[in-house]
Amino acid sequence: MKKNAQNAGIDEVNFYDSAFNVRLKRNLEILSNVLANPTTVLGLIIVILMLAMAIFAPVITEPNTPDPYQMPRDWKAARSAPLTPGHILGTTNRGGDVFYGVVWGARTSLKLSILVVSLTVVLGVIIGSVAGIVGGKVDEILMRIVDVFLSIPELIFALAIAAILGPSFTNIILALVIVFWVKYARIMRAQVIRIKQREYVDAAKIMGASKLQIYLKDILPNSFSPVMVQATLDMGNIVLVGATLSFIGLSEAGIAEWGVLVSEGQAGISAGRWWASTFPGLMVFLWALAFNLVGDGLRDVLDPRTETKR
C-alpha cells in the first residue's frame, strides 16, 4: 500500500523501458530543445550545407592533380568574370578558379577547425582536469601560465607565433592550438572544481570507486557540456582567425583556402574585379556565423543551471 502511494506521483507509461531507450529519448529531447530555436536551426542548416560541400568537394569539382588542395591555374582565362563557362564564380588575377577555391576551401577549413578543436579540447581538458583535481601549487602554476596566454589578444598572439614558425598551413594549425587551448583549460578547471565537491563524488568514494573511475564516470560527463559549447563556437572562430592569418600571407601561397583566396583577389578589387575576394569572404562569414548560432543554441539547452532542474 505504501508502495502504491509512492508510485502514484510518476506516470506508468514507460514501464519496461530499457536503459538504452531512455538514454536515446533523453538525447532526442535535448535535440528537440535545440531545434526549437529557429536561429539555431538556420545555423544548423548552414553548417550541414558547409559540411556537405567539404565532404563532397571531389564530386562537386574535379580534384586538381597532383595535390587537390592546390588551386588549379588556368592562366589563359585569368581575370574572367563570374558566369564564364567553366568558371562559374570567375577567376583570380592568376587564373585560380574561385569556385574551386570556395568548395575546396570548405574542406581546408573543416580540416583546420576539426584538427585545432580536437587538439585544443584534448590538451585543455587534460591540463584543466589536472589543475582542478590536484589543486594546490600545481593548480596555481598551471593557472598562472594560462593567465599569461590569456593576457595576449588571441589574433595577435596567433599571428606572432605563426610568423615566428614561418609561413605554412601546418604552422597555422600549430599556432592556433597554442592560442586556443587555454580557454578549455580554464573552463575545465572551473567545472572540475565545481563538480568534485558534489556529494555524488563523495558517494562514489564511499562506495570504493577508484580515482580514475570517479573521474571518468562522475566528473568528466558532468563537466563536459560547457566545453562542448565552447568547442562549437571555436569551430567558427578558428576558421575566422585562420583565414586572417592566411590573408596576411602566413599560409602556403596558392592553396585552396578562403583567406588565401581573399588576399589573392584583393588586388583586383580597385579594378572592379570584386568576385575573387567576395565569395570566399562570404564563406568565412557564413561559416563563423553558422557555428556561432549553433553554439549559442547549444549553450541555451546545455546550460548547467537548467540541467538537473527543469
Partner: protein, 433 residues
Amino acid sequence: MSNSKNTILSLRNVKKHFPIKEGVFQNVVGQVHAVDGVSFDIGAGETVGLVGESGCGKTTIGRCVSGLEPLTDGDIFFDLTPEKLVALEDFEKHQSEIKNKYLIDEIQSTSNISKIEGDDFYNYRRNCQMVFQDSFSSLSPRQLVSDIVSRPLKIHKVCADNELIPRTIELLEQVGLGKQHLYRFPHQFSGGQRQRISIARALALDPKLIVLDEPTSALDVSVQAQILNLLHDLQKQRGLSYLFITHNLSVIRHMADKIVVMYLGKVVEAGKTEDIFANPQHPYTKALLAASPDLSEDVMSDMAALDGPIPDPARPPQGCSFRTRCPVSRTECGWEVDDIIRRLEHHETLIDSIKSVHQPDAFNAKLTFETSLSAIELKDVVGTKDIPKQMRKAIKKIEVKGNDVNISFDPVQTVPLVQSENGSLSRCVLANK
C-alpha cells in the same frame, strides 16, 4: 547495551583540523579546529544521534567516519568485539602496563580505519555507507537509477552481471520503489523518492553502519516521517547501526538510542536519549531543547534563546568553550583575555586606540594604548555591566601602567567530560560538583 554485542564504531579522541591557507604560496596561517577530541561508541543495531548547530563539526565527523577525510589525530575503530573494547579501554587507562599486547596490536592492525589498508579497508568501505542531506547533489544527474543503485554492486563484484538488475530491483523494492523506476534519471523524482534511491544505494553492499547526514532536513515534514519510518524498518530487518547527524531534535528523539551533543568541535553532553530529554545537564543542551518549538515542556522555560555568535573555531575558547554564550556561566568557566576584547565591540574608539597587544598565553596580556586615558577607560569599562559579573570576578589582576594595561586570569584546564547524576556524560563546571 548488552555486553554480548559488538561495538560497530568506536571513536577515540578524534581530531580534525583544517589548515587556513593564504596568499599565492598557500602558506598555512592557522588551523580550524573542526573536530577537537571527540569520543563515542556505536553499538550493533544502535542509532546514535549527533546533534549541534551548524558549524559544530558534526558533518565533519560523519565524513571522517565514512573515510572521506583523514583524521588529524585520534582513532576510529570498526567492529570491535566486547573483549577487544574492554582491552582497548584498559589500554587507554593504563598506557604503561599493557596486559593484552597482542589484542591491542590486532585491534590496531585490523580495526583502526585510519591504519588499515588494501583489502581490509575495502571491507570497511562495504560496511560503512552514507546517505547525504541534499539528494539533488548526491545523485549524478547523468546516471540512471539502475546505474546509481547497481554501481556499488559492480565495484565490489558482489554478484554476476546477469544478477545485477534483479538485485537492483530488490533493493528498490526494499526502499518502497519498484522496477518501473529503474530506468529513470534522478531529476524525474521527488525529493523523498530521491532520498529513497540514496538509501537503496547505501544498502546495496549490505553494510553494518550507515552514516545519515541530515537525511531528512531537505524534505517536507510528511515525507520526513516516511523516510524516518523506512530507516527504522530497515534497521529492524537488517540490524543496521546508524550514525544520525541532524540538528532536528524531534527527529533525533524519534530515532536515536543515544545522543551526542556537540558544540564547537567538542562533545558537551552524551547519554541515552530519554535521559538527555528528561534531564539535560549541560546548559547548551538545555538551550537547544528550549529553542526547539515542538518540545514545549516547561522545564526549560528559563532558558532564553542563545545570543551572540559562535566563537571562531580557529581560536576556540579555553576552559569551557560554551561560556561565551552561556546564560549560567560561572567564575571558574575559564575566562581569558579574548573575552574582554570580544566584549569591547560597543567601544569602537577604545578598540581603535589599541596600539599593540602582547599576549604570551591566553590568560595574560599586555594591551598598549595610544593614550593613558584610553588605558584608564578600558579599566573602567571592565568594571561596568558591559562585562558579565562572573567574568569580572575571574579577572585576577588588571592594572594600568601609563599607556599599558596588564590583564591576567587564572589559567584553567579544558573542562572534562564527566559522569553526571542521570548517567549521561556532560562537559560543564556545574556538573563537576
